[in-house]
């Protein structure tokens, strides 16, 4: 961050940094590849509606460390499937708040934006990634439906693209993401992503704020409505806690109580 930036909440799960006309929101759990917890998404939701963020003219959403976000913290979900319901519900709130936000939002998805981390991108106005980044929704193999992300995806890409991305549980490269509309700008290197996103946000910050806000408002009205988001959330929540979902998530940790094996997140 530049010398002129003001950082708030060093130890927070999502850091807010004010940098000139920009507000940078950084997922801040780098040792867990920014795996999302309910508290983290709630903090992000609060920040998206906070006066100190809304007084900025453009927002950058990024992640500290090696990747943007590896998805929900599956260790929490494994311990208690109610965490999954909470994560899905707050995720919907975050995506809707990003869409409703009058300021333009640029997401810097370097390295990986997987599952819940990929779903967050669907709230952004511009998505920057890198060639080798991994994106997608590898969650149906865990008995989890990515339905929750569909209304957001339909605002970014063709319906067929959204179908492909949510039914095929494979991950795609940043280059493929840019081809299909899941991302807009593809950098050669992961370290170029946050600087590029920041430059794009600075460019957007120079536009008249009222025109940008009016345009975002119109696009939000033309896109998926509240009913669509609620229907999608219900479709995903409907499977939480089923025998199939519990067994598939439990299989991530083959040893009972095994503390050292298994991923922290879907990636």
């Amino acid at each position: 961050m530049s010398d002129h930036s003001q950082s708030m909440g060093e130890g927070e799960l999502v850091r807010l940094v004010r940098q000139g006309p920009l507000a940078l929101l950084a997922l801040n759990r780098p040792d867990k590849r920014n795996a999302l917890t309910p508290e983290m998404l709630e903090r992000l939701l609060t920040l998206l509606e906070a006066p100190e963020v809304l007084e900025a003219r453009a927002i950058v959403l990024c992640g500290e460390g090696g990747v943007f976000c590896s998805g929900f913290d599956m260790r929490l979900v494994h311990a208690d499937s109610r965490a999954l319901s909470k994560l899905l519900t707050v995720l919907t709130g975050v995506v809707r708040a990003m869409r409703a936000c009058p300021r333009p939002i640029v997401a810097a998805a370097h390295g990986a934006a997987v599952a819940g981390g990929c779903a967050v991108l669907a709230g952004a106005d511009v998505v920057v990634t890198d060639r080798a980044a991994k994106l997608g929704y590898p969650v149906t193999r865990l008995g989890i439906s990515p339905a929750v992300t569909v209304p957001g995806l339909l605002g970014m890409m063709s319906a067929g693209g959204a179908r492909e991305r949510t039914l095929d549980s494979g991950l795609i490269s940043g280059e493929e993401a840019a081809r299909t509309g899941l991302a807009h700008v593809c950098c050669d290197q992961p370290e170029d992503v946050i600087p590029k996103a920041t430059r794009l946000a600075q460019h957007l910050a120079e536009k008249p704020g009222s025109a940008v806000a009016a345009m975002k408002g119109l696009l939000a009205r033309l896109g998926s409505g509240q009913e669509d988001f609620e229907l999608a959330l219900r479709a995903s929540l409907g499977l939480v806690g089923s025998g199939d979902q519990l067994a598939r998530v439990a299989a991530l940790w083959p040893m009972p109580g095994g503390e050292r094996s298994g991923p922290q997140a879907i990636s």
Partner: protein, 257 residues
């Protein structure tokens, strides 16, 4: 030998369009045979007290021989307004039923997929093909209106690109179809197709049937796939255009009927 063959292996079903001597062109008989198979698949996944299995949750659709599907068999319906209308209604109903199957439907596009054949590709959830395959919608070149496939293509690649593809006619390569978003994956050569298809099918089979079905159901609800009226109107429009004297004369000349 049936015009449409179906095999079931636990969670995986395979449906093959089986009229290779006519490049799998969609005749009234072939469309009827495909309906029978899709109805069987629907029955297998309809809850019933007698059945313990929830039926397959993945379907692979492919063509026997060297073509996937050469399109509508218009020669057989030439001169009969009633038969051509019936052909288009059967196609519309088939696309609607395929889309509503509670399984992930994968088109393994093993050869040319033209017109209505390319429409069948478009209605599937996922598609694989190879670089120098031939695909597309040459309907307008023959005075035919690809109305039935239009709603599905708009959903697949978005309205702007669909407009370009449907109004331009002609054919495109598999690589171009991939660039436009009409297919999920494009492998270098035809010999790479089967291994890539089997890898994708294995991944889908390993996925949760409940999660895939819930996701597909939601996608169908949100993207308008459950709207039958538009398809019904489209079949009527396409039949009306097909039965104009201009189109009938053009087809008679082209098809040598």
């Amino acid at each position: 030998m049936s015009l449409a063959t179906l095999s079931i292996d636990g969670p995986l079903a395979r449906l093959t369009i089986n009229r290779p001597e006519q490049r799998n062109a969609l005749s009234l008989e072939l469309l009827t045979a495909l309906h029978v198979r899709v109805d069987e698949l629907t029955a297998m996944t309809t809850p019933s007290p007698e059945r313990t299995s929830a039926g397959p949750h993945v379907l692979a659709l492919t063509g026997a021989g060297k073509a996937f599907c050469a399109g509508m068999d218009l020669k057989a319906v030439l001169g009969s307004a009633e038969r051509s209308r019936r052909l288009l209604v059967l196609l519309a109903e088939l696309t609607y039923k395929l889309r509503r199957l509670p399984m992930v439907v994968v088109a393994v596009v093993n050869g040319p997929a033209i017109g209505g054949g390319c429409g069948l590709v478009t209605v599937c959830d996922l598609q694989l093909t190879f670089t120098d395959n031939k695909m597309g919608f040459p309907e307008v070149d023959m005075g035919v209106c690809p109305a039935v496939v239009a709603p599905w293509l708009v959903r697949r690649i978005g309205p702007g690109r669909a407009r370009q593809v449907l109004l331009s006619g002609g054919l495109m390569s598999g690589a171009e179809a991939h660039r436009l978003g009409m297919v999920t994956e494009c492998v270098p050569t035809i010999t790479d197709l089967a291994p890539a298809a089997e890898a994708l099918l294995a991944q889908l089979v390993a996925g949760s049937a409940d999660a895939l079905r819930a996701t597909k159901g939601l996608l169908n609800t949100l993207d308008g796939s459950e709207d039958w009226n538009t398809l019904e109107d489209a079949a009527k429009l396409s039949a009306d255009v097909l039965n104009t004297p201009e189109t009938q004369a053009m087809l008679t000349k082209k098809l040598g009927a």
